[in-house]
Symmetry: C2
Subunit: 329 residues, 2 copies
């Protein structure tokens, strides 16, 4: 089902300058479609928004895992010393080291942490990779579930097979409808219809069935440790503390998933994709959909998506406008 696209419009001097198209789906606690704009059947990659589901085998295999370690397993972290400390603790739990990580390496996402490495003339390690917590969690999930750590990122590894099954089960689609690519960190990147991705987050918002305890653990870990999920100034970290009972997880290419427990319509799952992958549109859409769903948007929340644009000299030069023509039902 396709409706008019959502749009995020960047204007300059009262003139539209650039436009991002948005596809969005909202699913309720029963897994039913509640609202959407654009193409709710769009098959796309949640990317890191999959991390809460990718962490379920870990939560299932080790229910007593400390919440901060479960959080870092769900994180796209900013590579600060605080993040790395939790990653190392989680790694040690499976007897692994940084050398066992298959994610690759990149500088910390946090500019301050990145600058510090430059000042010290230190190269980043795989620990700094934003997915290192996920990978550390996957290594532990292998150990807890009796799977080999060797080849843990391969499509055919039992952990990755289980993760794909969980996407199909929680997303409410056939296994064949969960397609596979390769993610930036080398694990499978799964693609599924947008409404199914929203359903993953609805299951986090309203856990039910045999997976309920693990889903609940993941939801609690994310909401109790917003700093670990992302980092300084990053949307998941700044938004979650401002909205009661919200677990939010961004994905690369401007994907976003939100498990919202406290809404006038009860627990909801929200997923959206900015068509062109433009990350700057994400906070604007996040606020707009929360507002459309009856969540009060405070001034602190508005500050996460300023409607006024400034230039290098601090002058007002334009605005950001959001159109979210939601179709209900």
């Amino acid at each position: 089902m396709t409706a008019q696209d959502g749009r995020v419009i960047f204007t300059r001097g009262g003139q539209a300058e650039s436009v991002h198209a948005v596809h969005l789906a909202v699913v309720d606690a029963a897994g039913q479609r509640l609202a959407h704009c654009g193409d709710a059947d769009l098959v796309t990659f949640p990317r890191s928004s999959s991390k809460p589901v990718q962490a379920l085998p870990l939560a299932l295999g080790l229910p007593e895992l400390p919440g901060d370690e479960l959080a870092i397993a769900c994180a796209s972290h900013a590579g600060t010393p605080e993040h790395l400390a939790v990653v190392e603790r989680l790694l040690a739990r499976s007897g692994s080291t940084a050398e066992d990580l298959r994610c690759g390496t990149h500088p910390p996402f946090d500019p301050t942490a990145a600058a510090e490495l430059i000042r010290r003339n230190e190269a980043p390690t795989p620990l700094h990779h934003n997915c290192s917590g996920k990978h550390a969690g996957m290594l532990l999930a292998c150990v807890q579930n009796g799977w080999p750590r060797e080849g843990y990122t391969e499509h055919a590894h039992p952990l990755q097979v289980r993760i794909r099954e969980l996407h199909a089960e929680l997303g409410g689609v056939a296994l064949d409808d969960v397609r596979r690519g390769t993610d930036g960190c080398s694990v499978p990147a799964l693609a599924l219809p947008l409404h199914a991705a929203a359903r993953l987050f609805a299951r986090l918002a309203a856990p039910a069935g045999p997976l309920a305890p693990a889903l609940e653990s993941v939801f609690q870990a994310m909401t109790a440790h917003p700093f670990l999920i992302a980092g300084p100034g990053r949307l998941d970290t700044t938004l979650m503390p401002l909205v009661p009972s919200l677990a939010a997880k961004m994905g690369a290419e401007a994907f976003y998933g939100m498990a919202l427990r406290n809404s006038p319509r009860g627990p909801l799952g929200i997923a959206f994709k900015v068509q062109d992958g433009g990350e700057r549109a994400r906070p604007h859409v996040a606020l707009a959909v929360l507002e459309a769903l009856g969540v009060p948007v405070t001034a602190q929340m508005r500050a996460l998506a300023p409607a006024t644009l400034h230039n290098w000299a601090g002058r007002d030069v334009g605005t950001v406008e959001v159109e979210l023509p939601l179709v209900w039902g």
Copy 2:
């Protein structure tokens, strides 16, 4: 006139992941529309692609200005020591210093230059701003044309009035059709229809009339000093030396202008806008339109817009595909 949009599609695992829409216009030496895709009448901001026209009052006022200084006046430079040296020489020519620049400050665009400032614990100055050469040129244009340097960035300043008139004249539109916003560096950002922006570049490709010597000087300065126009690894710098008689200038929000003298159809002006402002699409569209216009695309050129995407571990994960459904005439 609107035709089907151009598209740049980023795929992962054979599945489309993100899509950028593209509007593009090609104009010939006589100023006539040759081809387009998407909306050739789209009113948008060329942003820094305006710099060759913004430099015309300087070229008109001081025909003997050295080519490297005229180039830095047209540049969105990467802030390396080599760029700064030319900016300082140009500034001195009008008796100005960095304190007279109104562009604001940001770290160098070049990562190596930026890292060097961090290592030295030095803050960037207005000289590092990518538009500092343009501003230095504007200050000199004021002096040469007998205008005050005071307020040189204001809409009502005679220099900015003249620049807007030049956009209308060379773009082939009424003055009222050249709308005004404020740019990142605080000078006016002018908006005009895409076909008119293409016409600006056609005038650079085929100078005629009283402005011909100044247009020729700008074209020669850009093509003779590709490093100064941008910097290490940046598209204008890497593309210009690979295509005979091409002057190319990128603009923020994924605008691009090309003055192509050597094509099977003679001198041409090309302008395109990636609708969402996604800069990564720009090189792909640039190569695709050159190829569509009969310019041979070499392996070195293809390297500027790799069709294969790699992840942090160096693995192939996806592709970039370009659809440019040009309508001719």
